[in-house]
Symmetry: C2
Subunit: 487 residues, 2 copies
C-alpha cells in the first residue's frame, strides 16, 4: 500500500506515521524548520499550545511551593567538567561559543544543555544554613543539545523547557520532592494534555547523566511507541559535592545538600500530536487548544450578513465566559474551512447558516465523537441561547473522552509477557510488562534485536520476581518493567 | 561627605547613586552576577517582577491583535551580513558559536542580538499575498550583546526581552503600528511601572541599526538621568529588501512589505529601581511588586500564637481577593523585618500584635507616604474586618502617588533652555528641552562637553523653530528635542 496524501495534503496516519507527523506539523502551521541544522521555528499556532501548557504547568509548580528564577545561558566550559557522569553524557552535544566580536575567548563558553552546573554554583553561595532549605526553584528556558536526526518538537537542537532545581537537607526530603513532581507531571499530562501516562523509575542504563535515581512518565503514541514526556531526578550529593553546596545543620555541622532536578519540554507538544491525532490531522485536547470552538458563518451575499454578525456575538460571549472561540470569516467555502479546522484539531465546530439562525440553533460538530452514516462527525443542534452555558461542559466531556480513548488504546496494546517470542510480538505493537534481570548488557541485547528499551520500572505495581524474559537469570527490582520502542 | 552604608548595609541613594544601585540589587536579592563576564542571575524576587511585567505587557500586545511565536537563538552568520547598517551596528557585540561537540562548524552561528534577520527569513516564506498582511508577531526571548561595562539589569550581555516584528502593506500601516506600540509602552510604563515617560522620536544618530525611524520612551531616574525604556522602529523596506519579503497586491503586482520591530527588556526593572528607590532601599510599584502587603505578627511565646494565626488567615483572605500578601513568620525581631521589607520595597506593611488583635485592628504602614515625628512612615489603624475590602484601593492609591511623585520630580528637573550656559547646568540635573540643528557632529560636540545626548524629539509638543542651542544654525525637526545624560 503506497502512502497517498488525503485531501488535506497530509499522508494518512494509518499509512505512514512518520510522514503523517512531519507533514502535519508543517501543514497545521505548528512549526517550521529553522535555518541552522535541527533548529525549529514555533509558529503562532504551535507556540500558543506551549503558552497554554506553560501557564497550567507553572500554576502547579507554584501551588507546590516553587518559585521561578533565571540563570545564564552561557556556562564556563570548566563547570560542565566537574561532575564526571554529567560531562560524559553531554560532551558530544555541546554548542560552544569561542568568539565575541572579533575576539577569541580565553575560556570557551558552553550553551547550556541543562543547568545543574550553573545553578549549583549559585546554590553554593545562597545556601549556608538548614534554614535556607529546601530551596525550590524552577526556570523556563531554552537549551541546546546537538541532534544527529532532528525532528520538529521531538528532537530539536534548541528546545524550550522548564527545569526545576531543588536542594534539601537529606535524601528523604529530596526524594519526597522528586515523587511530588513525578505526580505533578502525570496529573498534568492526564488533566491538561489528556494523556494518561505510564509512571515509573528508569533502569540504571537509562538514568539522567549524573543522577542517582530517575523517574519518568511515558505516553503511548498512536503507533504503539513510547514517548518519554517528563523526568524527575534525585541527584544524591553528586552535584552538591562537585559545586560545594553545603549547609550547617542544627548541630552546627557542615553537610552536603541533596539535590533534585526535573524537566518537561516542547517535546510534550510532539506527544500531544502523536497521542491523539488521526488521518484527518491534529486532535487537540481542549485545555491546550489555541481555539476550542470555531464558529463558521454560512451564507452568500446578503444572506451572509446576519449569520456573520451572530457568529461574532456568540464568539464574544464565549470569550467572556473563558472559552477560546474564533470566527472563521475568511472568503473560503465552508468545505475548505471544515477540512482546515479538522486538520488543525479544533475540538468543536459550530456552523451557523441563515436557516439555523431562523430556527434559533447552531450545528455543533465534535472533532472526535460519533460519526454519521457518511463517516463524518455527527452534528448536534444546540439552541443559540444555550451555547455559552453548555460549551464549557462540552469541552470538559470532550477532554474526558480523549483521556478514555487514549487509556483504552494503551491498555489494548499493553500485555504482561513472560516468554521471548511473545515479547518480540508485543513490543512491535506496544508495551510488554516483563520481569528483567536488570543487567545493562541484557538490555542492550533486547534493544539490538527488537529496538525495544526499558521505559520504566513499574514502581506502583505489585511486587513480583522470577526469571528474566530474555536471559532467564533472576529478575531485579522486585517489580515488572515496561518495555517498548521509543521516540 | 563620605559614602557610608546605612543600617541596611546599602550606601544611601542621596550619597552615591551608583554604589546604592549596585549594592541594593544584590542586597534585595533581585539579581547576582553570573559566572561569565557581564552575565546575570535573576533571583526569584527579581524574576517575579519580570513575570508580573511580562504578563501585563503581553496582555496589552494580545489586546492589540498580536500573537506570540518563537524563533531560533542561533542565526547563520551570513544572515546578519545582509542588511548593511544592521551588521555595522551589531558586529562588535556578537557571540559566535564555532564548535559543536568536537566538530568545528563550517558556517559559524551567531547568538541573536535581536531577531530581524531570522524572522525576516521566515516572513519571506509565510507572506505571499496582501491577505497575509498585516502579520503581527511578538517573541519573548533571551538575546546577547557584548558589554564593555556591564551593570545588572541595565547592561548585561544576556538579557530577556520581548521583540515584536510586524509586516505591513505600506508605510501608513507600518507607521500606525509603530505609534500604537509606542503608546502601549508609555501607557504600560505609567499604569504598571508607575513611571510617566517622556515620549518622542530618536534623532538619526540615535536610531536602531537598520531603522528608518525610531520612537522611544525615556524615564527620568532619581539622579536626573534618562533611561531609555522601550523603542519601536519603522524599518521601511530595508529588511524586506534584504530578506525578500514580498507580497502580491490587489492588482497582482509584487510589492515589498514595510516592517517594524519593537522591544522592552529586563532593563525596565533597572528603571523601576532607579525611578522610585530611596535611601531605605527599593520602592516597588504595587502592580509589579512580588509582595504587595507583608503581614508581620508580633509577640513572644504564647502571645505570638493568636497574631500568627490571624496573620495567616488575613493573608489567605487577601490572596483570595487577588492581593499578593505574605506573612513574615521568620524567627527575627520586628525591627529586622521592618528594615528588610523596606529594603525590598514592599508597598504596605501590616503589623499585628496581641493588643492590636484585641482592639480589632492592624497597623498599616505605607513604604512611601506621610511620615511621623521620627521620620518613620505614619501608621494607620485599619479594622481587621475592613482589610480585604480596603487593601486593593490602598494599593491603587499608592500606585497613583508614585506616578504623581515621579512626574513632579521629572517636571521639576525639566526646563526649556535656549542658551548654552543654562543648558550645561540643566543637563547636569535633568532634561533640557532645546532647539537643535539636527547635525550629528553638533550632537557629538554636546556629548563630549556635557555627556548629554538627544533623548527624544518631542513629537507631541508645539511646533517651534529657531537657532540651535549649541551652534546657532537653524533648528531641525520643527520641534524641541529633550537632552539629558543617559544610562
Amino acid at each position: 500500500m503506497s502512502a497517498k496524501r488525503n485531501d488535506r495534503g497530509v499522508t494518512p496516519l494509518s499509512e505512514d506515521v512518520s510522514a503523517w507527523y512531519n507533514e502535519l506539523v508543517l501543514k497545521a502551521e505548528l512549526a517550521d524548520r529553522g535555518p541552522a541544522k535541527g533548529s525549529m521555528v514555533m509558529r503562532p499556532y504551535g507556540y500558543t499550545i506551549w503558552e497554554l501548557l506553560q501557564r497550567q504547568l507553572d500554576d502547579r509548580f507554584k501551588a507546590t511551593g516553587h518559585v521561578n528564577a533565571y540563570f545564564p545561558l552561557l556556562i564556563p566550559e570548566e563547570y560542565i567538567m566537574r561532575e564526571a557522569d554529567h560531562v560524559e553524557g553531554f560532551a558530544p552535544e555541546l554548542y560552544t561559543v569561542t568568539r565575541v566580536g572579533k575576539k577569541e575567548l580565553e575560556e570557551p563558553l558552553i550553551i547550556r544543555p541543562t543547568s545543574e552546573t550553573v545553578i549549583g554554583e549559585s546554590y553554593s553561595r545562597w545556601i549556608s544554613s538548614y534554614r535556607d532549605l529546601p530551596l525550590l526553584i524552577n526556570q523556563w528556558a531554552n537549551v541546546f543539545r546537538y541532534e544527529l536526526r532532528p525532528r520538529l518538537f521531538l528532537r530539536t537542537t534548541e528546545f524550550l523547557w522548564q527545569e526545576g532545581h531543588t536542594a534539601h537537607v537529606d535524601e528523604d526530603d529530596a526524594m519526597a520532592e522528586v515523587l511530588t513532581i513525578h505526580d505533578v507531571y502525570a496529573e498534568f499530562a492526564e488533566n491538561v494534555a489528556a494523556i494518561p501516562m505510564l509512571k515509573g523509575e528508569k533502569t540504571p542504563g537509562e538514568r539522567f547523566a549524573g543522577a542517582v535515581r530517575t523517574f519518568t512518565i511515558e505516553g503511548m503514541m498512536r503507533d504503539g511507541k513510547a514517548l518519554q514526556s517528563g523526568t524527575s531526578h534525585y541527584m544524591g550529593t553528586n552535584f552538591a559535592t562537585a559545586f560545594d553546596i553545603q549547609y550547617q545543620d542544627e548541630n552546627n555541622e557542615q553537610q552536603y545538600a541533596h539535590t533534585t532536578s526535573w524537566g518537561m519540554s516542547t517535546r510534550m507538544i510532539g506527544a500531544v500530536i502523536l497521542a491523539h491525532g488521526d488521518d484527518a490531522g491534529l486532535v487537540l485536547p481542549p485545555r491546550l487548544a489555541p481555539i476550542q470552538m470555531v464558529i463558521i458563518p454560512i451564507g452568500r451575499g446578503e444572506d451572509a450578513e446576519a449569520p456573520l454578525a451572530k457568529a461574532h456575538e456568540l464568539a464574544a460571549d464565549l470569550v467572556a465566559a473563558g472559552v477560546r472561540a474564533h470566527v472563521d470569516d475568511r472568503d473560503q467555502s465552508p468545505g475548505f474551512k471544515f477540512n482546515d479546522w479538522e486538520l488543525k484539531g479544533v475540538p468543536l465546530r459550530a456552523e451557523l447558516g441563515p436557516r439555523d439562525l431562523e430556527e434559533g440553533h447552531t450545528l455543533v460538530a465534535h472533532r472526535i465523537g460519533e460519526l454519521d452514516e457518511k463517516g463524518r462527525p455527527l452534528k448536534e443542534k444546540l439552541p443559540l441561547d444555550e451555547v455559552v452555558a453548555r460549551v464549557p461542559g462540552m469541552l470538559d466531556a470532550y477532554h474526558e473522552l480523549l483521556v478514555k480513548r487514549a487509556l483504552e488504546f494503551r491498555l489494548e496494546r499493553t500485555a504482561l509477557v513472560d516468554d521471548w517470542e511473545r515479547f518480540v510480538e508485543q513490543v512491535a505493537i506496544g508495551f510488554a510488562e516483563v520481569l528483567h534481570c536488570g543487567r545493562t548488557a541484557c538490555e542492550d541485547d533486547i534493544k539490538a534485536e527488537t529496538a525495544a528499551t526499558p521505559r520504566a520500572i513499574l514502581m506502583e505495581s505489585d511486587d513480583e520476581s522470577g526469571p528474566c524474559v530474555r536471559c532467564g537469570q533472576d529478575s531485579a527490582y522486585g517489580k515488572r518493567v515496561a518495555y517498548g520502542r521509543a521516540y
